[in-house]
Amino acid sequence: MLSAGIDIGSRTIALVVTDGKEIVQSAVVDTGFDPAKKAAEMAAGLTQAVPVTATGYGRHSAKNGFAGHVITEIKAHALGAGRLFPGAGTVLDIGGQDMKVILLDAKGNVEDFQMNDKCAAGTGKFLEVMAGALGYGSVEDFGRDSLTGAPGTRISSMCTVFAESEAVSLVHRGTDRRDIGRALHASVIERAFGLIQRVGCAAPLVFTGGAALNPCVVQLLRERIKGPVLIPGDPQLVGALGAALSGLENKNQQ
C-alpha cells in the first residue's frame, strides 16, 4: 500500500511516496509563482494513483484539488523526523519563510511547539537575501565560504532589512565578507536557539528543512546546543514524508 505526501512550502514543493518502510519516489522543485498549479502537476505526475496528503502553507489550496487530507507542517515534521530517527526528542525546521521547533513525547507525538511570528527573520529567505547582499551567486557558496569566517563579528538585528544594512556597513568598513557571513549565520542560530529554549530541548535534536543543507548553519547549531544534531539524508523531504505517513495512518483507521 502506497501513500503520497506533498509539502507545499514558500520556496520549494517536496513530494514523497512511501509504502511505510521506504521512500519509493521523491522530488523537490522550486515553488515558483503558481504553487497550486505546480503542486497539482507533481501530483498528476505520480506513476500510479495513490492517495495524497498535503502539508505546508499551500496545504489548503491542495485540499480543494487533489489532496484527500491535510495536516499542518508541525505534525508532518514530527511524523517524518520520528520515522527517520526513532527516539528523536526535538525537531528544528528552518524552511524558506518559517522556523519551527517541535518537542516530541516518548511516542513521537507533538508535545509542544513554537513558530517564528509573521516576519521571515532567521529563515531560509533571510540567508538568501544576505547571500545576495554579500555578492554570492548561491546560498550554497555563501554557506560554504562563511564556514571559514572568523568569530567575533556581530550582527545585532534580526530583521532581514536591518540586518542587510548592517552587513553592508560592515562591508564598507572593510570587514572580511566571510566573517560577516559567519555572523549572519550565527544570528539565524541565535533565533533558532531562542525558540528551542522556549519549548525546552530534548535530545537528540533533528534538524530539517533547506537550511540543514547549509554547512555553516549546521556547524554553528552544533556548537550552540552542545548536543547531538541529527540531519536526514534529504532534510527537505521530511515534511512530505510525514504527510505521506499520516496518509497511511488514515488508511489504517478506515
Partner: protein
C-alpha cells in the same frame, strides 16, 4: 444599512469620504465570517444591529441627544454603566477594533503601540466614528500605561474623565476605587445636568444586572455539548452588548436563549461531533475584530467561552439590588467592578483560578491565550497563565497579534497544529 444616513453623519461632523472607506474596509467581511456559518440559531436581530451599526443606533443616540440626553463613551469594562444610566445618560463602549486613521494617530502617538489605543486615537482624529462624534464625554481609565497617557492626548479633542483603577486589591485600594466611583458620579451628574437619586440608581442597577444575567444565561448554555451556538456568534453578542439599548438587547438575548435551551434539549449543536472545545483568554476583541475566533472555528474547533473583557469579564457578577442608601449602592457597585480579573492588577491570581475553573465547567480541551501586540500586562501575565495551566495539565497556545490580516496564514498553521496536538 437600510436608511440614508449621510445627512446625519454630516451633521455630527464625520469625514464622509473617510467614513465611506471605513464602511467598505471592514475586514474580513461580516458576510464571510458570520453568514457562512452552518446551523446558526436565529441571529436576525444581532445581524441587523451590526448592519445598522452606524445607522439606526446612531439615529437613536441623536434622538436622545435632541431630547437633551447625553452620551458617554467608554473603553473599558471598569466604567460603571449603572451610574451613567441613573443620570439619564447612555453608555456606549467605543469599539477600537480595526486599524483606522493610523497616519493621523501617529502624529500624536508613537508608532509601536497597542493597536487598540492607536485605533481609538485614529477614530477620533480621522472623524470616522459616529459614536465617538456623538459623545458628550468619554471615560478613560488607568488600566495600562499606554491608555493612561493616551487619554491625556485624547482630552485635547474630547473631554475625558479619567478613573484611577488601582493596581492591587488591598483594602486601601478598594477605598481608593470607591472614591473614584463617587467622583465619577459627580462628573456624570455635571455632564448630564441630572441628579442621581437612590431610586434612579436602584433602577439602573436592576437594568444592567438584567443585561448581565442574560449574557450569563447565554454563557451557561455553552457548557452543553454540542454547543448550541458558535463562539463567533457569542462574541458578536458580547460586542453588541456594549453599544445597544440595554432593555431591548436584554430581551433579545433572552429570546435567543429560549431557542438555545430548546436546542440543548434536542441535542442540536453548531459543530461536528467531537470538535475540540476551546476557551479564549487575553485582551479584548473589540468589534469588528473577529480574526482569531474565525480562524479557530474555521479549523474545526468550537469556542465555548471568552475570558475576555468582551466576554465573561464584562458580565460576571451582579451588583446587589437591595440597598438602604446611595452610599451603600455606590459601595456595592464599586466592589462589583473591583472583582474584575484584569491584568492591570498585581497579582492577578483570580484570573488563573478562574481559567482553571472555566476549563472544568465548560469541559474545555484547550485554552488559547490571545494578546494584542504591545500589551505588556497581558503578554507578561501569559507566563503566569501558562504556569498554572501546565500544573493542571490544560494545554495552552499563546498568540500575539494585531488588527492586520498578514499573519492569518501563520496563525492558522499554529492553531491547526494546536488542535492536532490536543485532538
Amino acid at each position: 444599512m437600510s436608511g440614508d444616513y449621510r445627512k446625519m453623519w454630516e451633521s455630527i461632523g464625520l469625514d464622509l469620504e473617510a467614513h465611506d472607506r471605513l464602511l467598505q474596509a471592514l475586514p474580513p467581511a461580516y458576510g464571510e465570517v458570520y453568514l457562512t456559518q452552518e446551523n446558526r440559531p436565529a441571529m436576525d436581530y444581532f445581524d441587523f444591529v451590526v448592519n445598522e451599526i452606524h445607522g439606526l443606533r446612531i439615529q437613536e443616540l441623536q434622538e436622545h441627544k435632541a431630547r437633551g440626553g447625553k452620551v458617554i463613551g467608554t473603553f473599558c469594562v471598569f466604567v460603571p454603566e449603572e451610574i451613567i444610566r441613573a443620570a439619564g445618560g447612555i453608555c456606549i463602549g467605543l469599539c477600537s477594533g480595526i486599524e483606522i486613521g493610523s497616519a493621523q494617530a501617529e502624529k500624536v502617538l508613537p508608532r509601536s503601540i497597542c493597536p487598540l489605543i492607536k485605533s481609538f486615537m485614529g477614530f477620533k482624529l480621522a472623524r470616522v466614528c459616529p459614536y465617538f462624534e456623538s459623545c458628550d464625554m468619554v471615560v478613560g481609565e488607568t488600566t495600562c500605561d499606554g491608555k493612561k497617557k493616551a487619554f491625556e492626548i485624547l482630552n485635547d479633542y474630547v473631554p475625558v474623565h479619567v478613573l484611577e483603577v488601582p493596581q492591587m486589591k488591598r483594602e486601601k485600594d478598594r477605598l481608593l476605587w470607591r472614591g473614584e466611583v463617587g467622583d465619577f458620579l459627580a462628573g456624570v451628574e455635571e455632564v448630564t445636568g441630572n441628579r442621581v437619586t437612590a431610586e434612579s440608581l436602584a433602577r439602573s442597577v436592576r437594568e444592567v444586572n438584567g443585561k448581565r444575567r442574560a449574557l450569563a444565561r447565554l454563557a451557561g448554555l455553552r457548557k452543553n455539548s454540542p454547543a448550541p451556538i458558535s463562539g463567533k456568534d457569542s462574541l458578536l453578542i458580547e460586542q453588541i452588548a456594549m453599544y445597544d439599548d440595554v432593555e431591548r438587547f436584554t430581551l433579545k438575548v433572552n429570546q435567543l436563549c429560549d431557542e438555545l435551551e430548546k436546542r440543548v434539549r434536542e441535542g442540536v449543536g453548531v459543530h461536528r461531533p467531537g470538535a475540540p472545545r476551546i476557551i479564549v483568554t487575553g485582551t479584548p476583541m473589540a468589534i469588528p475584530n473577529w480574526k482569531v475566533p474565525h480562524i479557530i472555528e474555521g479549523s474545526g474547533a468550537v469556542i465555548v467561552a471568552e475570558e475576555l473583557c468582551t466576554g465573561l469579564r464584562y458580565f460576571e457578577n451582579t451588583v446587589p439590588e437591595e440597598s438602604e442608601s446611595m452610599e451603600q449602592s455606590l459601595g456595592t457597585i464599586a466592589d462589583r467592578y473591583m472583582n474584575i480579573n484584569c491584568a492591570c492588577f498585581t497579582p492577578n491570581t483570580g484570573r488563573m483560578e478562574k481559567l482553571v475553573q472555566l476549563a472544568e465547567e465548560y469541559n474545555a480541551d484547550g485554552i488559547i491565550h490571545c494578546s494584542l501586540s504591545f500589551c505588556d500586562p497581558y503578554m507578561i501575565e501569559a507566563n503566569r497563565v501558562e504556569k498554572m495551566l501546565k500544573e493542571k495539565g490544560i494545554p495552552m497556545l499563546k498568540i500575539e497579534t494585531d488588527y492586520g490580516q498578514e499573519d492569518v496564514g501563520q496563525l492558522r498553521t499554529r492553531i491547526e497544529a494546536f488542535l492536532e496536538m490536543i485532538g
